[in-house]
Amino acid sequence: MNFGLNVPVIRLLIVKDWQLFQKQLAAYVLAGFAALTLLGLAKPWAFYLGSLALIVVLVAAACFAIATSLLVERKEQTLAFVMSLPVSPLDFTAAKLLGNLLTFGVPFAVLLLGTLVVILTTPLPDGLVILALLLFGHVLLAYSVSLAVAMQVESEGWNTFAMIGSMVLINPFLMAIGQIEAIQGPLRGDAIAWSLPAALILAGQLLVSAAALAGTAWWQGRKAAFY
């Protein structure tokens, strides 16, 4: 196994992915800002519409990043062009993982930050910060699992199943945390009240996300060749 990475080419491939998708991702960010504007109105109907729109934008941005950088490239046979460049499977994995984390990570971070600012600077209860973090944590987890599947499985069917399956679980996830009094109780309050269940869930989301990506990098790094 060769762990000597071809850093200059990896950097170029990451920039390439950013150039390819930046316009679409900027559109997702703009749509997210529209959703946040609705949230900031702090009216029940606007909160409902805004939170729904925000979830849709996050899910769409996550699916777009994975689909365009891996699934569409595979389908349109542009991956063959990338693999013909002087990169090893490990270089390619590193470029795809980091490129994806950048193309999705930037809109994700902007929208997370925007959501926290909206909650903390409008009449919305500050206790919603915990719910927002758990919601973004779920999207991050679903994205990481979907990205790991897309990196390792060529089947379009399995990839679609992984993406849609993990993303739609957001609904039962929100219902489930709504049943946990330690999380549900402080949501309407003006204090950001961390509870043990909330902290454990968020830590679990981050750990599983990191493990999925690290496991993918390790597995791909063991491969001597692409095929």
Partner: protein, 294 residues
């Protein structure tokens, strides 16, 4: 002479296909044409030679690099274009050139501009608006302008209209004038191979059924038309790969022509009417049907 590549005992198994026991060497500065029908194993062999695929058995050395372990070093020195390789439809040729130029320090900008003019490509146009022929030319431009020591081309002329095909072949002919550059290209078009290659390999069902210099191929193979009744045992002559009698005429295809063959045929009761050289396509079809070495 140092080999551009050398493979020994190469095997690669897929669920529905296996490349078996391929031994092949390309001396530097030579052009080898790999002929085979679809599914013969040409793409698999080229993927192995670029390090994209790992062999199940055997060894691969390309430009002094052992593959697939040293594929990065090898890929810095080679240009690879395959029929199933596509560029980004939403981006322009200029964008692709900028990407590839930054990766390969040997990139020759003047040559790239020359090829843009020769191929009549619009570098600022998104490739989604290019025809198939223009996309192939764009891919070739990206390969050639990096000045690779070894050029690996998988079906470079497949699907091209006659004009585009002629342009691509002329450009390849120019490239081949550089004696330091080695080329392996696969095709099921024997005319292209006959025009460009110094040596020729026939791949069939994952096996290299024949490999020799082009001149040797063309010198060794003959089609002989005889008059008379085919004597028994003619099928057993080692130099004959095809014997077909139609009425009083007997058609023979010879894979190892010797000047004394007409005399031996006369002694066997056949009158030789004519002896013709065989075109490469006929040699390929005959060798594949015979299933053995040419």
């Amino acid at each position: 002479m140092t080999a551009a590549f050398a493979v020994k005992g190469l095997r690669k198994h897929y669920p529905d296909f296996a490349l078996q026991d391929v031994d092949l060497t390309l001396p530097q500065g030579q052009v080898m044409g790999l002929v085979g029908v679809n599914g013969a194993g040409k793409t698999t062999l080229l993927r192995l030679l670029t390090g994209l695929a790992a062999p199940d058995a055997g060894s691969i050395e390309v430009l002094g690099c052992r593959l697939p372990d040293e594929q990065v070093a090898a890929k810095r020195q080679l240009g690879f274009a395959s029929e199933d390789m596509r560029l980004y439809r939403g981006q322009s040729l200029d964008w692709h050139i900028d990407l590839v130029r930054r990766i390969y320090p040997e990139w020759d900008d003047a040559y790239a501009r020359e090829l843009i003019a020769r191929f009549d490509l619009k570098p600022a146009q998104a490739l989604g608006g290019y025809s198939h022929g223009q996309r192939v030319k764009a891919l070739l431009l990206l390969c050639l302008s990096r000045r690779p020591r070894l050029l690996l081309l998988d079906e470079p002329t497949t699907g091209l209209d006659p004009v585009a095909r002629a342009e691509v072949l002329e450009t390849l002919c120019d490239v081949l004038r550089d004696e330091g550059r080695s080329v392996l290209f696969s095709s099921h078009n024997t005319h292209d191979v006959e025009r460009l290659a110094d040596s020729i390999g026939f791949l069939h069902q994952g096996r290299l059924v024949a490999h020799a210099d082009k001149e040797r191929f063309l010198d060794n193979w003959r089609r002989v038309l005889c008059l008379g009744a085919a004597p028994g045992g003619l099928d057993g002559w080692p130099e004959l790969v095809h014997v077909r009698a139609a009425g009083s005429q007997v058609e023979l295809k010879v894979r190892a022509w010797r000047d004394d063959l007409p005399q031996r045929l006369s002694a066997a009761g056949l009158t030789v009417q004519r002896v013709d050289p065989m075109p490469l396509e006929d040699i390929f079809v005959t060798a594949v049907r015979a299933g053995g070495a040419a």
